[in-house]
Each structure stands twice: as C-alpha cells, then as structure tokens.
C-alpha cells in the first residue's frame, strides 16, 4: 500500500500556470506574490471557438482576458460597417481598465481561431484588491503610465497623420 507521505508526481496545476502567466503581465507587475496567488486562483480558463465573441461593442462587460493560445480580433462597428482594429495573440492582456470600474465596451472582441484565455472578473478582482489596499497606489501608477505612455507614443508616431483628431487629444490630462 502506498504511504500518504509519498508525494504524487507533481504536475503543474492550472492555478500554477495562471500564476506564471500573471507574473509576465505589465498590469500585474507591481503586485507582490501573495496577491498574485489570489488573482491566479480567482482567474478562470475560458475557451472560444473561431468566430465566438468574448465581448460585444456597447456591452458593459466586466472581464479582463489574457490570451494563452490562439488569436483574437478587435472590431468596431460604425454605420453598419465592421472594421478590424487589431489582433491579439498569446501573451496579450486585454481589458484591464474594466477591472477598475464599470465601462462600456467600445469594440467587439472575437476569436479568430480556437483560443484559450485566462479571464479575470471585476467583482473578484476588486474584492481581492480590497485585501491588499497597500497595492492601490501601484495599480493607479500602472494605469497612469499606460495612459500617458499611449498618448506619448501616439504624439510621437501618429500625430502628424492625425489631422482632424488633433483637437480631441489630451486623454492623459483626464
């Protein structure tokens, strides 16, 4: 008879894989291991067939996704026409802002091929975050850096071609 002391051959559990994944995402880079463990535990794998929608334009969805495998397509419908904005592949993290508060989706996110994501819901994230209040300033800083960084890049690389959208710039001044 086996003794209970003899450990099972340890294979990586889904939780351990989630933890590894979160450690590589910028959004979570400021969090200590103790809190990342809780996020990794609360996250859930979701699988999508090609063509399946993760969230829809206009919807108030409250989930952030990290792509584990496969490819996603971001679309925007305007005046009846659907335009592809960009694509996300393994390693991408989408929708971190929706973890901080209710926000309406401005785009539709669709699986372009069979895709696996790690999904984290706002309710779980915020309840977990409440347990680590000291991490809030770091999280805010990450978000601030992302917004300012985006606009800075835009100004550096795209402003010249932007034309009519110039007066609308200044999102980093929110």
């Amino acid at each position: 008879m086996n003794s209970p002391g003899n450990a099972e051959p340890e294979r990586g559990s889904e939780y351990e894989e989630n933890l590894e994944l979160l450690r590589q995402i910028d959004f979570f880079s400021g969090f200590p291991l103790e809190s990342l463990k809780v996020f990794a535990y609360l996250g859930a794998r979701q699988r999508f067939r090609a063509g399946e929608v993760l969230f829809e334009q206009g919807e108030e969805d409250a989930t952030a996704f990290s792509v584990i495998a496969g490819r996603l397509r971001l679309e925007r419908e305007s005046g009846g026409a659907v335009r592809t904005i960009r694509r996300f592949e393994a390693g991408a993290f989408i929708g971190g802002l929706s973890l901080l508060g209710p926000c309406r989706r401005l785009y539709t996110l669709r699986a372009e091929e069979a895709t696996v994501c790690l999904a984290l819901e706002r309710e779980k994230f915020t309840r977990a975050l409440e347990q680590f209040p000291a991490q809030m300033p770091r999280l805010f800083q990450t978000v601030v850096n992302a917004i300012v960084g985006w606009e800075e890049n835009f100004l550096d690389e795209m402003a010249e071609d932007c034309g009519r959208c110039i007066p609308r710039l200044g999102v980093s001044l929110l």
């Binding site: 002391g5 003899n6 099972e8």
Partner: protein, 835 residues
Amino acid sequence: MPKPRPPIVKRSLASWVFEGNLPWQALLLVLIAVFTATRVLPLEMQKRIVNEAIGRREVDLLFAYGATYLAAVVLSNACKYGIQVIETLIAQRTLARMRRALLEHILRLPVGFFRENQPGSVVNAVVNELAVPSNFVGAALSTPVANLLTLLAFAGYLLWLNPLLAVVSLAIYPAAMAVLPFLQRGANRANQKRVDLARTFSGRIAESFQGIHEIHGHAAFRIEQRRFAELIERLRKVRVVWGLFRYGVKSANNFFTSLGPFIVFLLGGWLAIRGELELGALVAFLSAQEKLYDPWKELIEFYQVYQDGKVTYRRTMEFFDVESPVQIDPPDRPPLRLEGKLEVRRLDFVTEAGIRLLQDIQLALRPGEHLALVGFSGSGKSTLALCMAQLHAVEEGRIFLGGHDLTRLSKMDIAANLGLVSQHPFLFEGTLRDNLLYACEALAPAQAGTAAPPTLDDIIAVLHQTGLFADVLQFGLNTPFDPARHEAIAPGLIRVRRKFQEKFGARFGEVVEFYDAAAYLEYSSIAENLLFGSARRPEFEPARLAANDWMVDFLAREALLHRLVNVGIRLARQTVDILGNLPPERVFFAQSPMSAEELPLFRRTLEQLRRRSPEQLSRQETLRLLELALRFTPGTHKMLELGDEFRARLLAARARLRREIEGNVPGAVAFYDPEAVVPSQPILKNILFGNTIAARPRMQEQILQTVIQLLIEKDLLEAIVGIGMETDVGTQGDKLSGGQRQKLAIARVLLKSPRILILDEATSALDNRSQARIQNLLETRWKGRCTVVAVVHRLDIIGHYDRIAVMKAGKIVEIGSFAELMARKGALYELAGKR
C-alpha cells in the same frame, strides 16, 4: 355607532386589564374568594387542635381538625395554581395583542420616523419592553384583590383573637407604606433611564450589524467596541442603581415585617404569663401574624411590577407617539381609481435640518405622458419622485394625482394607482412568487370584488416583459429534482433528454460533459466520479462518504485511501497558502473545496504534519483530509492536477464499486441511467445528462436556448417556470443579482397595472440589453396608457421620453422634449457633455 378605539400609543396601561379578558378576570375573582377562605381556615384549625383536641385529649377531634386543615391546604394550593395559570394566560394574550397593535401602528408611521430611528430600537420595544407591562396586566386584578382580601381576613382574625395585640402588630404596615414609595420613586427614575438606554443600545447593535461590511472592511472593530463599551457601562450603572432601589424596597419591607413577631412575642408573652391570653390563641396569633407577611410581600412585589410596567409602557408608547399625516385606508369606500394626470404646483421641500432640497417645482403631466427627470447628483430628482409617491410629506406646495390633492388621498388610494420602483428595491424573505405578488396581495383586501388577482398568464407575461423570464427559468432548471414534488414532470424530462442527445449531442459535445461510464468527469467531484450516481441512502451521499466505514474500507482495498489522503494534504496546503489570510467570503471560497469554517481545522492538521508523518495523524484528521479530497472537482478547483494515471485508477474503482454496491448494499445508489431521472441533481443536469463546462461561458447561453426550445416542444416550460418561482430569494434578496432584484421590483409593480409609474433609477443595475428591454416596454406598451416619471442617470436612454425635466440645485431649470432641449443648447446639452 361604536366609539373608535384610540391608537395604542394613547391608551393607558389600565385599559388592557379588562379588554378581551373579562371572562378570565371573573373566573379569577371566584378562585380568589375560595383561595382567601382556604388560607384562613388552617389558622382556626391550628387553634382548635391545640386548645380542643390536644387540651381535651380527644383523638377524634385531632383527626377531624387535621383532615380539615389538610383539605384547606390542598384546595388553597390548587386555587393558587389556577390563579397563576390564568394570570399567565392573560399576560400572554395581552402581550400578543400589544405587539400586534404596536406593530400595526409602527408600520403605519411616516417613513421619516424610520430614517431618524434605528430598527434595533423598534425591535427592542416590541420584543423586550412590552413583556413587563403585559406581566402587570396579567396580575393587575388578581394579585391586589387576593392579597388585600387575605390581608384583611388575617387582620380581622387577629383582631378577633386579641384586639390589643392586633392593633400593635398591624401598626408596622402604615409605617412601611410611608417609606417604601420614596424608594420606589428612585427605582422608577432609574428604570426610565434603563428603558431609553436599552433602546439606544439595541439600535446601536442593529446599526453595527447593518454596517458589518464597513467594520470588516476598515477593521474598525476597536471603534465599535469602544462605542459599545461606553453604552454597556452606562447601562450597567443605571441597572445597578435600579437594582439598589428595588432591593432597597424589598429590604425595607423585610425589616418592617420582621418587627411583627418581635412585638407579638414581647406583648403576647407578657399577656400569656399574666393569664390574659391562651397558649393556643398565642400560637394561632403568631401563625396568622407570620402569614400576614406573604400577602404583604406579594402586594409590595406587585407594586414594583406595576411601577416598572407603568414606566416601561409609558416610555415605549411615548417613543412611538408620532402621528401619521396620511390615512392608511380610505374611509368607507374602495380605493379610488384615479386618472393618470399628475400635477405639481409650487412644491418646496425642506429637510428638518433646514436644507432646501426642492424649490418652486411646477410641472403637469397628461395621462400616459412620459417624463424623464435628469440632473447632477443631489439636484433633487429622487426627492421629487419620492414626494410624488407620498413617501416624503409635502408641506409647501401641492401635488395632484388624477386631480386629487395628494395629502388627502389614503395610502391605499395611492398604492392602487401608483407604482414606485426604487434604485435599491427591497425584497422580503420568501420565494420569488411571494415577492412578485407582494403589491397585488397588499391591494387584494381593499380591491376585493373590484379587481381580479393576476392569473398565471399575467405573471408569465410580466416576467417576459421585464426580462425576468429567463432568470426564473434558469432558477427552475437549477432546482434539484425532488421526486416528492417533481415526479409529474419526470417522463417529460426524459423525453427532452432523449431529444437533446439525438439532435444536439454532437453539437454540444465540447460544452457538455455527458455522463459516460467510461470517462472521468472533470466537473464532478471525486466522490461523484466514484459513485457515478445519486445516493438513495444518506450514508452514500457524496458529502458523507468519508464517514461511511463501508466506503472507507472499499477505498483501502482499492489502495486509494492513502492516495486520496495525500490529495487532501496537497489541497489543504494549497488552499491554506492562497486563502489563509482572506476573509471568509463566498467570492474567495466558491472555487475552493474547503469552506472558510474548515480552514482553521486544516491549518492545525498541517501544523501537525510539520512534526509528524501522515500515518501519525488521528483517524478524525485522516478522514477529514479524505473528505476534502473526495470533494475535489478538477473543473472547479484549479489548485491541483490529478494526473491521468490517478484518473484511470479512479475510473477502474468506479466499475468495481458499482458491482460491490449492487451485491452488498443494493439500492443504496441510483446509478446514472439514460432512461431515468437522477434525484437531487438539478433539472438542467437531468436534461443534459451531464455537466456544463464552465470554461465555455458564451456557449452556456446557446445550450439554454436549445433546452428552452425543447421544453416548449414538450410542453414543460411553464412547469419549470413554476418551479423557478418557488426559489427562495434569501435575506433581502441576497440570492439574486442586483439586476435580478431590479427586474423583480419592476415586475412586482407592473403586475398591479398602475396608472402612474415612478421609476427612481430603477434600471441602474441592469445590463444594456435588459435596460433596452425595459425602455422598449415603456415605449411600446405603456406610452399613452400609463403616466411615467423616471429618474434617469444615463442620458442615452431618455430620447424617447415625451418630456425631459433637467434639475439643478432643487429646481427644474428646463423642461421640454429631447430634441427641443438639445437644440436649445442649455442645461441638458451641458449635462450630455456636449459643451
């Protein structure tokens, strides 16, 4: 015409003594008369036994007097017991009546009263404080009459025995009566303070419970303890003072009554020595004198009960003596059926603190017209809506509903014509059906004969309109199949299951984990995987398998026991590591095989494992780890990987377990059978004959739609909705989501078909689709038929309202159609962020 009864808060305590208790009080008087006579008789027998039977040495007389003595004592005690029973009966009947009347009064108090006072104060008054005055009512007649009669009888008997001795020994009672009321006044003052403090204390406890999330969130335990400690200390002091005075009354009384025998011995002894008093008479006198003490003590105790009851009753009634500015029921007529016309004239609303929340509001709506109230937070939108629904008292200005002044309409008139849905609707404990029919049932007695109660078709229509149908259906599908209640639908469920397998089995193969005897079920626990069926005997329920010796023995024979304990140890380590420092909330423990309550136990076991090997654990700890492992469900609990080899071992054990159960404990488990329902499994699982895979959230909706179609085909949909309607909503609806609560609140109001509908951000918790559905409902079904006033936060849903009133600092700054106001580029334009 009978005189109208005064409200409970105006009634005197004495008024409760006879009302409804007359026959009982009369019976008490009869018992008291017998009781008094039987108390005096033994004294006379004592005297005769000493003087006649013993003195003359007559045994016959001794037996005769002894028997009379015994009969009197037995009868006296029987009467006493009867008196106490009737007193208790009267006290409890009175307590129940007081509670009913006070609660009826409290529920009708203006809403403002409940804003100003803590619910705990009301609870304390109704539950605790009324007990004291009702005890007084129980004894109000019997105790003074019985004891005064006894006292007079004994006093008369003493006077008859020896007037001089009697007068001297009775002189102590007037002296006592001079001192005792002085002490009682002190007790009353302390009791008055105690009642007030107890009310505050109860209110504070209730407040803390309501704010428990804040207390935990801010770790404000010390602040709360400090607040409680101060109140507890004040309450302690006042109770000590109260006790001191109460016991002061008792001690002073004891002192006076103890003086009696002293005087009798001194004076009686002197008279006996001089031969002026027979020895038998002295014995009888001493006995009678001693017996005076009992009725006197009871009178003094009754005096205290009366004083405490009076103070408590008065203090309690004074607290609730608030007049309701409106009538509850219409006088001698059914509720009015009002036109949907709504007019507000020069309405101001000022809080008690003097803050002006509304100023000079003027508006008029035609029947069926829809108005959106918009504006920044604090602009007075909700206050105006609540004034229209008569939840805020209108003091300056007027509101007319259907041409009637709001202040002159009864609550029932308003409820019959106006429906209000607030932002945070309240649901009561009970089922979805109870809550859905709440408004209609409230109106039913007043509308008897004039309006029909809603039919099942009405209910289903409203569920569809509000988008609650899918939720109720889902609740029904998630209800475990109970053979006792759901047997009638069992054949239908099997037909739906067959159809689902035939037509959609392949399509949903990735999303449903079908019950396959040859496959390990990732969304079932290890226990369920082993059993592969539903327990028919309690000891085979998955949660009890670890306590089932037969099963533990089977696992040991299969060489699975230690491996499972090992899984339990690994699960315990991971769970304690991840959740060890988190609060015991559902959000954290829903994905864990371990409950928050069990965590400290497993933490202790892990501590043990640092020093000992697993074999050295106690049997209890080993079985607890086994139980944890048996709960492990790979699809839900992601902290562990079982391994393919172990899954195969468990599958092999499943087949052998089935053979052993069929051979040794036949009938203990209903094994999964495609042609039979699985008791205690949810109805949806019974239809799918498998588990849904949580990792495919979007596909769940498709499965649900498919199942609904099949249920419609097989004519089972209404039955499942009916089962869903019996779902318990929990405390304040905590088993429902915020959106479901709002949809239920809207459905509750729509079901009574109001002429006027007030929506105070009633769709704020709904997702876009549900919000659009309600909006569509208002536009298509209710425009022109029902006047709507909606407080709206989101400006993207106001385009279809007939008019929009923009509020700012308590005033309507502009009013008009959406197009007009946007074209004007005024306040709405600014609010919409266009400027």
